[in-house]
């Protein structure tokens, strides 16, 4: 409907987000779209904060690699 798929940048972001491991993707979406902190994400995913930090780090690196 009102969702813009024409933008090629968005299309590659979509493709790369889909390629991320689910947990890593969730962390990035929670942080960026919802504005959650590490602690809030950890609480939401019932996971230690250290693990969330590691997922975000790896998710960002994989995303950068995929988009480059």
């Amino acid at each position: 409907a009102a969702i813009d798929l024409a933008n090629t940048d968005s299309a590659s972001l979509e493709r790369c987000m889909e390629r991320l491991e689910e947990r890593r993707r969730e962390c990035i979406v929670y942080a960026f779209v919802e504005g959650y902190t590490h602690e809030q994400i950890a609480h939401r995913l019932a996971t230690p904060v250290g693990t969330v930090k590691s997922w975000i780090r790896r998710g960002l690196l994989a995303l950068k690699e995929c988009l480059s």
Binding site: M17, V33, G35, K64
Partner: protein, 290 residues
């Protein structure tokens, strides 16, 4: 976080854009950001990569698990409806307040605790209003709700910048009449000079093309930004035409001081939709008093 290690730097810039750095790491990165054009480039590259998550919800596609949980939380009959909806709807002011609390307090651990309690209070205090929002949302088509989240996400970022500048930053010192500043704007990578900024307190700001003009692809525009040393984020000075002199009254500037950043970024037509740079930096430089 080691800002001299390329991989750490990039992750730190990414987390800065995500908004997940703790107060200490964020402060360290922001101190470094002034005068480190390459790091600024990393930050803007991350904004560019991630902005699509706000612009279009479908491209993000975080998977059925996330959306089903969020939908469940938005259903009035759902047990935890107030919980998640409250957190989301209030995340902008609550986090902004937390952000301010963190910046305003130099003690790392204490500041963090304070931030956590501010967030909790902000969420709790606003339960009534968000309940109404959640009930209204349940009747809308999914995409409309998604759009609302996009807006909330955008607001969260904008509110952090606005509130941080209102609550934390010292008001800019009044510039004395006639002080003059000059900034040479160079391409971050090639260091090619492209523009000169000349600003006089109480007078005008002139942006003058002096050399290599970057190519502006169709559908993109050049946007002119400035950021004082103690400001949380850049202020747009409007769109500019490649190769033409632009002159603005100096009172358009939020501040005029030494080491103030001026830059030109490539933005979608009509300018950045977020009120902060989203595209790559083409030219950047900081002022010296002359």
């Amino acid at each position: 976080m080691n800002l001299d290690d390329p991989q750490d730097r990039s992750v730190a810039a990414g987390e800065y854009v995500l908004g997940t750095l703790d107060s200490e790491a964020r402060a360290a990165l922001e101190r470094r950001l002034t005068g480190d054009a390459a790091l600024q480039g990393e930050v803007y590259a991350w904004q560019d990569r991630l902005v699509g998550l706000i612009r279009g919800v479908a491209p993000a596609d975080p998977g059925p698990q996330v959306w089903s949980r969020i939908e469940a939380a938005l259903t009035p009959t759902g047990g935890s409806a107030g919980d998640i909806a409250g957190v989301r709807a209030q995340s902008a002011p609550a986090i902004a307040a937390g952000d301010a609390a963190q910046r305003g307090n130099d003690g790392g651990t204490t500041a963090h605790d304070k931030s956590a309690s501010t967030t909790a209070d902000g969420t709790a205090a606003s339960g009534g209003a968000t309940g109404t929002a959640a009930r209204g949302a349940a009747n809308d088509p999914l995409w409309q709700r998604l759009r609302r989240w996009q807006i909330t996400g955008g607001l969260a970022i904008a509110a952090v910048l606005v509130l941080a500048s209102l609550l934390v930053l010292r008001p800019p010192a009044p510039a004395e009449g006639g002080e003059r500043y000059l900034a040479v704007l160079q391409a971050p990578d090639s260091k090619t000079t492209g523009w000169i900024v000349e600003a006089t307190a109480g007078g005008s700001v002139r942006l003058v093309p002096v050399g290599a003009t970057a190519e502006v692809p169709p559908g993109k525009v050049l946007q002119f930004w400035t950021k004082g040393e103690r400001e949380a984020g850049p202020t747009s000075l409007g769109l500019i035409e490649p190769g033409q002199v632009t002159e603005l009254p100096a009172d358009k500037l939020p501040v005029l001081e030494p080491r103030q950043l001026f830059e030109l970024t490539l933005e979608p037509e009509g300018g950045s939709p977020l009120g902060r740079p989203t595209g790559p930096i083409l030219f950047v430089g900081s002022t010296v008093r002359i």
